[in-house]
Amino acid sequence: MRRASTLGPPSDEEIRTRTRRIRIVSYSSMAFAVGSSRAWSRALVLKIRNRARFRGILRNKCLASKKKRVIKRHKVSREMSKTDMLRRLVPGGAGMGICGLLEETAHYMTCLATQVHEIDLE
């Protein structure tokens, strides 16, 4: 179990890990609060779970396959349309049509605003 360094100023690394954790917790709490009624919350919950579950496993896997890494073919960089960018931003946006995407975006935006508001209150 890791303990915070009781010495003086926290190191950058610690801050970074803590930041990551706080962010994950806030997102997961937001997703849990919304529940499974929206697509983005479901996707967010799944993403957090999978990321947590696979982080250990994937680390080992990466080490093993480093030798055999295939040189990635340079992808043809196509212009990212706005809807694609929006899909990336909103969790779970990849599998939805434009209509659902817009609706999820609106709900996601309001929840994000609430979250910012609440974290800011501190």
Binding site: M30, A33, E103, A106
Partner: protein
Amino acid sequence: MELPTGPGHRSSPMRPQSEDTVFDSLQFGEDIQHLISVPPENASSFTALLELPPNQAVELLHSPDSTLRTRTVIETHHQKPYLQPQFNAANLAFPTNSGLIERAARLSVFAGENLNNISNNSLETSSGPSNSSANLEKVVKSEPAEAESDLNPSQPLVSDPTTVEIGAQNQRPVKRKEREKKGKSSTKKSKSSGNDNSEDAEKLPYVHVRARRGQATDSHSLAERARREKINARMKLLQELVPGCNKISGTALVLDEIINHVQSLQRQVEFLSMRLAAVNPRIDFNLDSTLAAEGGSLMDSNFPSMVMPLTWPEVQVNGNRQNYQQQWHFDAVNQPVWGREEDSYNFITPENSLLSYDSSANSASLHSNQLKMEL
């Protein structure tokens, strides 16, 4: 009694009001006067108003005028003897004795299927069924006799007596407008305009559409138009959400703004969490390691434990929750158009949970640390 139906009829611009003079000359005008003065106790169906069996009612509709045959709604009486078919039939075919028409309209409206078709700009129809009395003006599409979803058949009965008074003031000016626009294209769009509950549209197998003048009426273009309108409605919503987006016109720029806004919000979350991390040196939150448990069962058991500390404060502040809901509902989440008001209530909970985030976070971290130790 099956009338020929088809897309042409759907877009027929004929209004019931055009039958004014015709009907006035008919002898059952006085019957209708009688009906106006005798409100039925239990209007289980509009034909109960007529005190006639449905078939006879339809006969009445048929008999007076040959022009009535263009009313394509008649065959809907073959369907479930619920409110909607008769209402629609009566809605169209009955004369514009104002009182009767109002009542007829309201009754037909509360058949409920036309709840979506309200985008009457003169009426504030987007706020629920009580205002859907504007459906008086909706042309009913002729449908083959398939089972229609009985959309709250009890609802019309309940709200029936109330709306007779409610919509009365609304109906008159609307109808006057209707008469003025008799020959022109109607500006009312139906087909689940985004203003209204989109989930109601999904409940109905048939949505009643009024095609605009000069627009194609085949099913494909109708569907496309409906889709486009849905998308436009949602874009408008988003425009209202994003500050400063109202002035921008054009979908591309609005989308840009939306993307920027979402990105800025996410960056804000990141920045604030960094600030929290720097300010509060605390015991490391072992969320990742507890979540990255070997077994899924362990992780699943951790999640509830994680969530519980967050939900406990919710239980505590449950009393305030109701007030919060109202507040938030009107402040931030004033989109009744989604009809997802329950989501706005759910959406309160992040606030509650985050409010107590700091107080519970320590307990949560201790809790998760304990579990980690037990491993």
